[in-house]
């Protein structure tokens, strides 16, 4: 078991494509770290560099106390679970799981007992003599896990291990992997582009974009204290609404609406104090907007409703806010329905607003987020 | 050098060495020899003659005739192989899943050694006992089994010897085309049908354009093979009667073995090589590339 340190790691591919820029962070011993980010942001690249399958262009990578930049994957003492599982098709489940131990030249009795133990943990005992072709998707996934855990490596690396499963199985395996990791207490890096997986599984989550690390933090902190506009919009679903606004003293002007910001906000964002005519980007999450007709508040705005998606447990209300919309820069973000510039509010199903109405919206002003318009970083 | 590069080189090296020794070096030797007058029958004659061998080859009537025959043979064989093979593939794909046994039996000639195919067709065509003519009499196409002297008439022999080639490789064309046809997305054809295209129009506007790369591969591979043919014709006629079926490769062989004229054989061999490369490159540029551009 060991921690992993990345120091100014860069990756430039053979075609001169600069895939990773100055990656810098630590993964603590026993920690469950998740890499998340839009497609093509370099998650797999980073993972494969840690695995040793991809060379490191510059920087320093440490596993435990060793610098491993030039060490072969086989000597790094790490195990990997691939998206396609990469089970050896000509070997049975037992032989698949035993293979890494055979390569390590363990005695046969030791191999047998370890394979049986891993199979028991993963409930594969009845399948040990089958070939992978005869297994279901979920079973294959477990065999891939078995091949990884049987070695008791210093770290597990997993690249979207659940993306080939159907939704229900994915939820189940998500829980199983997380609890297995807690039980074995092995440092784990888990790549996904599913933010629900990221938020529920990770001790900490590293958010990446365009080969640049945006923020590494606990899921709670990513949600509550995003450090920039991208992280703010990327974490949470539906996304945080982001608009340009002007702050004057304690009054925030958002398009044609104005309201007062409570004192608490200025306590944890002291640099907002004494603002006069200050341009900011303001962010508010859909869950922090309510129908003022049901739950009035001191900070209220009004906006025309363009669309209402009634989901039963809640209603997603699309609003046309007359302030300048801010593009968070997530290439994967496409409005499923309606205009991407529309603000989305999460109303109680009791709300009676309908498309075409002018709705009064109560904003939970203590939960507002503020960012600098030029650097797009959070204002504290 | 990284470990990865070392690995790539180690794995590649034996094949590079083999191809270097057995292909690149001989080709070099071929070109080198083509500038000398070498006599293998009376040894130790080896003198530099510059381009004289090429001049001789290009002005020789027998060389020119054999080159022309190679073209006649290749075009004739390729045309029929392609027509029969493509029709067979269309038939098989029209039969959908029921063509498995047909394809299996049809593929049979593909496994027959060229020497056997040549012998067999010689046996079918040869005067007096060739069963083909008796069959034609039976069908009422000719009156006398000796009416057509397939292999001994100088006018037709170059075409007669290609029957064996056609028989031997139609199935290659058919199988490759069939694979190409089955890869055409069904919904494209159905969309065309909904747009009101009849079977002929669908074939012309959908099937044929999509089959272009497959057709290109078949034409290149088969065209080159037909032009290189030696064994099939050799076993049937040895180039006779009176050189009437002597193709270019056979001409080179004769000059090498019978006349021991290594220099001139090398010059012709080099010319042959260059022409084949040019043809293949041309076919590649004209037929294959436009589809992939």
């Amino acid at each position: 078991m060991a921690g992993i340190e990345l120091r100014n790691i860069n990756k430039v591919y053979g075609n001169r494509f600069h895939a990773l820029h100055d990656l810098n962070f630590d993964i603590r011993d026993g920690e469950f770290m998740v890499f998340v980010g839009p497609s093509g942001c370099g998650k797999s690249t980073a993972l494969r560099m840690i695995a040793g399958l991809e060379s490191i262009s510059s920087g320093e990578l440490r596993i435990g106390d060793r610098v491993v930049n030039h060490i072969d994957p086989k000597d790094r003492d790490i195990a990997m679970v691939f998206q396609s599982y990469a089970l050896y098709p000509h070997k049975t489940v037992r032989e698949n799981i035993a293979f890494p131990l055979q390569m390590a030249r363990l005695p046969t009795t030791e191999i047998d007992s370890r394979v049986n133990e891993a199979a028991r943990i993963l409930e594969l005992t009845a399948l040990l003599d089958r070939k992978p072709a005869l297994l279901s998707g979920g079973q294959r996934q477990r065999v891939a896990m078995g091949r990884a855990i049987v070695r008791k490596p210093a770290a597990f690396l997993m690249d979207e291990p659940l993306s080939n499963l159907d939704a229900k199985l994915r939820v189940q395996m998500r829980g199983e992997i997380a609890s297995l990791q807690r039980k074995l207490n092995v440092t784990t890096i888990y790549v996904t582009h599913d933010q629900v997986e990221a938020m529920t599984m990770g001790d900490r989550v590293a958010v990446m974009k365009g080969g640049v690390l945006q923020q590494v933090d606990t899921p709670q902190n990513l949600y509550n204290r995003p450090e920039n506009v991208f992280v703010a919009a990327f974490i949470g679903s539906p996304s945080m609404n982001l608009y340009e606004a002007v702050l004057n003293g304690r009054t925030l002007t958002l398009g044609s609406n104005s309201f007062e910001i409570p004192d608490r906000v200025f306590e944890y964002r002291p640099s907002l104090n004494g603002a006069s005519n200050r341009q900011v980007i303001v962010g508010f999450r859909p869950e922090h907007m309510n129908d003022a007709a049901i739950r009035p508040s001191s900070a209220e705005i009004s906006a025309p409703v363009t669309l209402v998606e009634a989901l039963g447990s809640e209603s997603l209300v699309h609003l046309n806010i007359d302030a300048a919309w801010v593009d968070a820069g997530d290439p994967d973000a496409v409005a499923d329905i309606g205009d991407e510039r529309a603000a989305v509010a999460r109303f109680s199903p009791k709300s009676t607003v309908r498309a075409g109405d002018i709705a009064r919206i109560a904003v939970d002003a203590e939960e507002l987020h503020f960012f600098e318009p030029d650097t797009r970083t959070s204002i504290w | 050098m990284s470990g990865e590069d070392r690995f790539v080189l180690c794995m590649l090296a034996p094949a590079v060495a083999i191809l270097g020794l057995l292909v690149a070096y001989p080709v070099g030797l071929l070109i080198f020899d083509s500038f000398f007058k070498v006599d293998t029958i009376t040894p130790n004659i080896r003198e530099w003659v510059g381009l004289q061998n090429y001049v001789d080859a290009l002005t020789s009537k027998r060389v020119a005739e054999s080159a022309l025959r190679t073209v006649q043979y290749s075009v004739f064989a390729l045309f029929f192989e392609f027509t029969f093979g493509f029709c067979a593939a269309l038939l098989f794909s029209a039969m959908a899943g029921e063509s498995r046994w047909h394809r299996t039996i049809f593929a049979l000639p593909l496994m027959v050694p060229p020497i056997v195919a040549g012998l067999l067709w010689r046996f079918l065509l040869v005067g007096n006992i060739g069963i083909l003519n008796y069959g034609l009499v039976r069908l009422g196409l000719i009156d006398d089994p000796n009416e057509i002297a397939w292999l001994s008439s100088e006018d037709i022999v170059i075409y007669s010897v290609s029957f064996a080639d056609i028989w031997l490789t139609t199935s290659f064309v058919a199988l490759v085309s069939y694979a190409g046809l089955t890869n055409i997305p069904k919904d494209l054809l159905e969309a065309a049908r909904i747009d009101g295209a009849n079977a002929l129009k669908r074939f012309w506007h959908v099937t044929l354009p999509l089959m272009r790369p497959v057709i290109a591969v078949v034409v290149i591979v088969r065209g080159v093979d037909a032009a290189k043919t030696f064994d099939l014709i050799w076993i049937q006629t040895q180039g006779g009667p009176r050189h009437a079926s002597e193709v270019f490769s056979m001409n080179i062989y004769q000059r090498m073995v019978r006349f021991g004229d290594l220099g001139e054989a090398s010059a012709s061999g080099a010319l042959f090589l260059i022409v084949m490369m040019l043809l293949a490159a041309l076919a590649y540029w004209k037929i294959w590339r436009p589809v992939h551009a």
Binding site: A51, P73, A79, S84, A86, H90, F99, P100, M103 | E4, F7, V8, M11, L12, P14, A15, V16, I18, L19, L22, V27, L30, D33, L91, A94, S99, H102, T104, F106, L108, M111, V112, P113, I115, V116, L119, L120, F123, I129, Y134, W167, F172, L175, A179, V214, R222, V224, D225, W234, I235, S249, Y253, M256, L262, A265, S266, G269, L273, M277, A280
Partner: protein, 278 residues
């Protein structure tokens, strides 16, 4: 539904045409088989008959009793087996890195192999004769093996590249994560996974060598004559010994046909995606 399809007119036409086509292509070889089991005297009867009047293995007995043909078969087999082994030994690793570790040099290499397939064997035969003569390998098994290898390696490279193209790269990576060096991953995982493709390629290289005629004609004289040379010689030596010739031709071609028919499915796959003729 199914019945109705069988009964429609175009269906009958298509099936009929296919049957005629297939039969007309199968007939010549059938005739060869039929002729080989006729008594030698009946082979050249006028007019010829398709089926034998009496069954006789006289022709087979004659060719097997002669000393040349059995020896030629042994030569052919030896040369083909060695050619296959040598070609696979060099082509399989090369095709593997050429497809899985793509870079400029491997692409150039594959292109070179492709171009090599266009070289007329007679152009190569002339200098190969020189080369083998200077190495003292004319009319020897190793000499002929080398010549056949020059034709078999490009074929094996193209076929194996097509097979490796379909293999996921992760298999090798998983093996390396499990503690293998690149060589071990190749030997312990990649090769066993690819046995099907290797077998098909082996069959094709074997057939290439087994069928080869021109190099054998140029590069052998007495000691290492292969089967096709001996069969071709029935022409001159025995005049027109059609009976013996058909029997020898059947012995020479039937084993390959039987094996290929048995492996039909894999072979057609190999053929069509390599788009190459053996």
């Amino acid at each position: 539904m199914h019945k109705a399809r069988h009964l429609n007119v175009s269906g009958i036409l298509i099936n009929g045409a296919a049957l005629v086509l297939v039969l007309s292509y199968a007939l010549p070889y059938m005739y060869l088989l039929m002729t080989s089991i006729k008594p030698a005297a009946d082979v050249q009867q006028i007019p010829p008959s398709f089926f034998p009047a009496v069954l006789s293995f006289e022709n087979f007995r004659e060719v097997l009793r002669s000393s040349t043909l059995p020896k030629a078969f042994v030569n052919s087999l030896t040369v083909a087996v060695l050619t296959t082994a040598l070609s696979l030994a060099v082509a399989v690793p090369a095709a593997y890195v050429a497809t899985q570790y793509r870079r400029r040099i491997t692409t150039l290499f594959l292109l070179f192999a492709l171009v090599t397939r266009m070289v007329p064997s007679v152009s190569l035969g002339v200098p190969l004769f020189q080369l083998l003569k200077s190495l003292g390998l004319l009319d020897t098994v190793p000499g002929l093996v080398l010549a056949h290898t020059s034709a078999a390696v490009p074929l094996a490279l193209l076929l194996m590249s097509a097979f490796f193209e379909g293999m996921p790269r992760e298999l090798e990576e998983a093996a390396r994560m499990d503690g293998c060096t690149r060589f071990q991953a190749f030997r312990k995982i990649v090769l066993p996974v690819m046995t099907g493709g290797i077998a098909v390629t082996a069959l094709f290289t074997f057939i290439t060598s087994w069928n080869e005629f021109l190099y054998a004609l140029l590069l052998t004289s007495e000691a290492t004559k292969t089967a096709p040379i001996v069969i071709a010689e029935y022409n001159s030596v025995y005049g027109l010994a059609w009976g013996a010739m058909t029997a020898a031709a059947v012995l020479y071609s039937l084993p390959v046909i039987v094996v290929t028919l048995a492996l039909q499915k894999q072979i057609v796959g190999g053929l069509t995606f390599g788009a190459v003729k053996g």
